[in-house]
C-alpha cells in the first residue's frame, strides 16, 4: 500500500473536492438564513435569528395552497403520463424489424433532447400563436375556431405535460432499449418453442426483465418529483396562467431571488429539498420491501 505515492492522486483531487465543498456544502451552511432575517449588510453570520418565522410565513401565506397544489398536480401528471412513455416506446421499437426505419426513428427522436429549453418553448409558443401559429392554422383548415392557448390557465397543464413528454421520452427510453438488447435471446427462443407469440413474449419475458430497471428509475423519478423540468415551466409561465403554473421552485425563484426575500426563499427551497430527500429514501425503502432492487 503505497500511501506516500498517492500524493499525485490527492493533488488531482484537490480542485475537485474544493469545488464540491465550496459550491455544494458551503451553500448548505448558508441554508441557515432560512431561520434568520437575512440582512445584506450584516451577512449570514450576523443576521438575527427568527426561528421558524420564514417557514410559518410560507405555510400561512395565501400562495401556499396554490403553489403546493400546482406542484403536486403537475408532478403527478408528469409521472402518470410521462413515466410509461419511454417504456412503451422501447417496447414498440423492439417490435420493429425494419432496420432502416428503426434507425431513422431513433435518430429523429433523440433530437428534442438536444434542443434547449428556451428554443423548445420558443417553438411551442410559435406553434400555439393566435396569429399565424401552425396549430391554429390547422384548426381553421378543419373549420374549428382559433384558440389563444397561452392566454389562460385552461390549457397550461396539457401543454406542459405534452412538451415534457416530447422532450424526455426518448432519452429515458435509451436505458430501456439497452436493457432489452441485453436480454438473453434464448429466453425468447424457448418461449417460441412453447408456443408464445410476440405479444406473449413481450408481456412475459421483456417486461419482467425490465422490471429492475423500471424500479430503480421509478425511485429516482420519485426523488426528483418536485424538481424535474421546472425551468421549462418557468419559461412557459405568464401572468395569465400563473394560477396553475406557479410551483415551488418557480415560487422560490420569484419571491426569493427576484423579490430578494432571501431568508424566505431559502426556507421554501429547504422544504423542497428535504421533501425530495425524504421521497427518495421512502421510495428506496418501498423497493427494498418489494424485494428485488434498491438504490442504496
Amino acid at each position: 500500500m503505497d500511501l506516500s505515492n498517492d500524493k499525485g492522486l490527492y493533488l488531482m483531487l484537490i480542485p475537485v473536492i474544493l469545488n464540491f465543498i465550496i459550491f455544494h456544502y458551503i451553500p448548505m451552511y448558508g441554508l441557515q438564513i432560512a431561520f434568520k432575517r437575512y440582512n445584506i449588510v450584516l451577512g449570514i453570520d450576523e443576521s438575527p435569528w427568527i426561528g421558524l418565522t420564514n417557514f410559518m410565513n410560507f405555510f400561512k401565506s395565501y400562495n401556499f395552497v396554490m403553489v403546493v397544489r400546482n406542484t403536486l398536480t403537475i408532478s403527478l401528471l408528469l409521472i402518470i403520463f410521462g413515466f410509461p412513455m419511454p417504456i412503451i416506446f422501447a417496447l414498440l421499437l423492439n417490435e420493429i424489424k425494419h432496420k432502416l426505419f428503426k434507425r431513422f426513428t431513433q435518430t429523429v427522436s433523440y433530437v428534442p433532447h438536444f434542443i434547449s429549453s428556451v428554443i423548445v418553448v420558443g417553438m411551442l409558443l410559435q406553434l400555439l400563436s393566435p396569429s399565424g401559429g401552425a396549430l391554429n392554422i390547422i384548426r381553421s383548415l378543419f373549420g374549428l375556431p382559433e384558440v389563444y392557448y397561452m392566454g389562460s390557465s385552461e390549457y397550461f397543464r396539457t401543454i406542459y405535460v405534452i412538451m415534457s413528454i416530447w422532450r424526455s421520452t426518448v432519452f429515458g427510453a435509451i436505458i430501456y432499449i439497452a436493457t432489452i438488447t441485453s436480454i438473453d435471446p434464448e429466453m425468447y427462443e424457448s418461449a417460441v418453442i412453447d408456443g408464445a407469440n410476440r405479444v406473449k413474449s413481450m408481456i412475459h419475458i421483456t417486461l419482467p426483465n425490465l422490471l429492475p430497471t423500471i424500479t430503480i428509475l421509478f425511485i429516482l423519478r420519485l426523488g426528483n418529483i418536485l424538481n424535474i423540468g421546472w425551468q421549462e415551466l418557468l419559461l412557459l409561465q405568464n401572468p395569465l396562467n400563473r394560477q396553475v403554473s406557479e410551483v415551488i421552485q418557480t415560487f422560490v425563484y420569484r419571491r426569493g431571488l427576484i423579490d430578494a426575500d432571501f431568508g424566505f426563499g431559502a426556507a421554501v427551497g429547504m422544504v423542497n429539498s428535504l421533501v425530495g430527500l425524504l421521497m427518495v429514501i421512502g421510495a428506496n425503502e418501498v423497493a427494498k420491501r418489494v424485494g428485488e432492487t434498491r438504490l442504496f
Binding site: M1, D6, G8, L9, M12, L13, V16, N19, F20, I22, F23, H24, I26, P27, G30, L31, I33, I44, L92, E95, I96, F101, F104, T105, S109, Y110, F114, I115, S116, S117, V118, I119, G122, L125, Q126, S129, G132, A134, I137, I138, W166, I175, A178, T179, S182, N197, R198, V199, G223, L234, L235, Q249, V252, G256, F262, G269, N272, S273, G276, L277
Partner: protein, 297 residues
C-alpha cells in the same frame, strides 16, 4: 387451430400498432421543426395570410439578414461559444482528475470522498444560498459565474470513474515500475485509451452548457454578456426584446420581406443548427455514453 390464428392476428395488430405509433411520433417530432424552418424562409405576405405550414412560400433570406442586424444576437452567439468552450474544458479537466483519482480502489478516504460527492445529488443548499455565495465571491455578472460553480456533475464523474475502474491494474503497475508518477500515467496512458468516454462526457457538458439559460439568467445582468439562450429567451419567450421592435419599425415596410414571426423562426433555426450539425457524428457516442451511465450507474 383457432388459437394459433388468434395469436398470429395479435402479432399483426401489434406490428401495425407499433408502426402507427412510431410514425405518429416521428410526425410529432419533426413537424414543429419543419414548420419553423419553413416560416424562417417565407415571405411576409404568405405568413400574414397564414398560408405557411410545411414548406416555405415566397422564399427569401431577409429574416436571416435581419438576424445580423440585431444588436445582440450575433454577439450572444459568440458569448455562448466562449462560455461553452471554456466551461467544458474546465469541467472536463476536473471530472477526469476526480474520476481517475477515485478509480484507485486502495486510495485512502476514497469511500468518504465518493460519498461526499454522491450526497450532493440528493440534497443541496438550494438556489438562494448558492446565489448568495456566488455573489459574495464577486462572480456576479461575470463569465466565471457560469463556469466555476457546479462545474462538476457528480453523475458524469461517477460514470467516468466506473469506466476508468475497468482498466486492468497491470496497466498502471508496469508504468509505476518504470518510475512514472500518477500525472504521467494519466496523461500518457489512461487518457489516450479512454478517449471515447472522455469525448462522451465532454459532449454531455457541451450540450448542457450551450443550452443553459437559467444560470445566465440568475447571474448575468449586462446584456452584451448574455449567451444566445438568454437573448433568445427575450425574443422568443418573454417578447421583451426592444431590438426586434426597432428593427421591424426601421425596416422599410414594403421592401423588407419579413415579420417578427419569421425573424423568430430564423432565430430558432440558427440556435439549433450548431448542435444539429454536430449531432449525427456524435449520436453514436452519445447513445453509448447514456447506456454506460445507465447500466453501470
Amino acid at each position: 387451430m383457432g388459437r394459433i390464428r388468434k395469436m398470429a392476428k395479435d402479432d399483426l395488430l401489434l406490428q401495425i400498432f407499433a408502426y402507427m405509433l412510431l410514425i405518429a411520433m416521428i410526425i410529432v417530432f419533426l413537424f414543429p421543426i419543419i414548420n419553423v424552418i419553413s416560416l424562417s424562409f417565407s415571405g411576409r405576405q404568405y405568413v400574414e395570410r397564414r398560408d405557411v405550414l410545411l414548406w416555405p412560400l415566397g422564399f427569401n433570406l431577409d429574416s436571416y439578414r435581419m438576424i445580423f442586424e440585431h444588436q445582440y444576437v450575433i454577439g450572444s452567439f459568440f458569448n455562448s461559444v466562449i462560455y461553452t468552450f471554456v466551461g467544458t474544458l474546465y469541467s472536463l479537466t476536473l471530472t477526469v482528475f476526480g474520476a481517475y483519482a477515485l478509480a484507485h480502489k486502495r486510495l485512502r478516504f476514497r469511500s468518504l470522498i465518493t460519498l461526499l460527492i454522491a450526497f450532493t445529488m440528493l440534497f443541496s443548499g438550494g438556489l438562494i444560498p448558492t446565489f448568495l455565495l456566488v455573489r459574495d465571491l464577486g462572480f456576479l455578472d461575470k463569465m466565471w459565474a457560469l463556469i466555476i460553480p457546479l462545474a462538476i456533475s457528480p453523475w458524469n464523474l461517477i460514470v467516468m470513474r466506473t469506466v476508468f475502474q475497468q482498466n486492468p491494474d497491470s496497466l498502471e503497475e508496469s508504468a509505476k515500475i518504470d518510475g512514472a508518477g500518477y500525472f504521467r500515467i494519466l496523461f500518457r496512458i489512461i487518457i489516450p485509451i479512454s478517449l471515447p468516454v472522455i469525448a462522451t462526457i465532454g459532449l454531455f457538458y457541451t450540450v448542457d452548457k450551450w443550452n443553459d439559460f437559467f444560470n445566465a439568467l440568475v447571474y448575468l445582468s449586462t446584456k452584451s454578456k448574455f449567451p444566445l439562450q438568454l437573448i433568445a429567451r427575450e425574443i422568443l419567450v418573454t417578447f421583451s426584446d426592444q431590438s426586434l421592435n426597432r428593427i421591424v419599425n426601421a425596416a422599410d415596410a414594403d421592401r423588407m420581406n419579413f415579420t417578427p414571426m419569421t425573424f423568430r423562426a430564423a432565430l430558432i433555426v440558427i440556435s439549433i443548427t450548431p448542435l444539429m450539425l454536430v449531432y449525427p457524428f456524435l449520436q453514436k457516442y452519445f447513445v453509448k455514453g447514456v447506456m454506460i451511465g445507465a447500466i453501470k450507474g
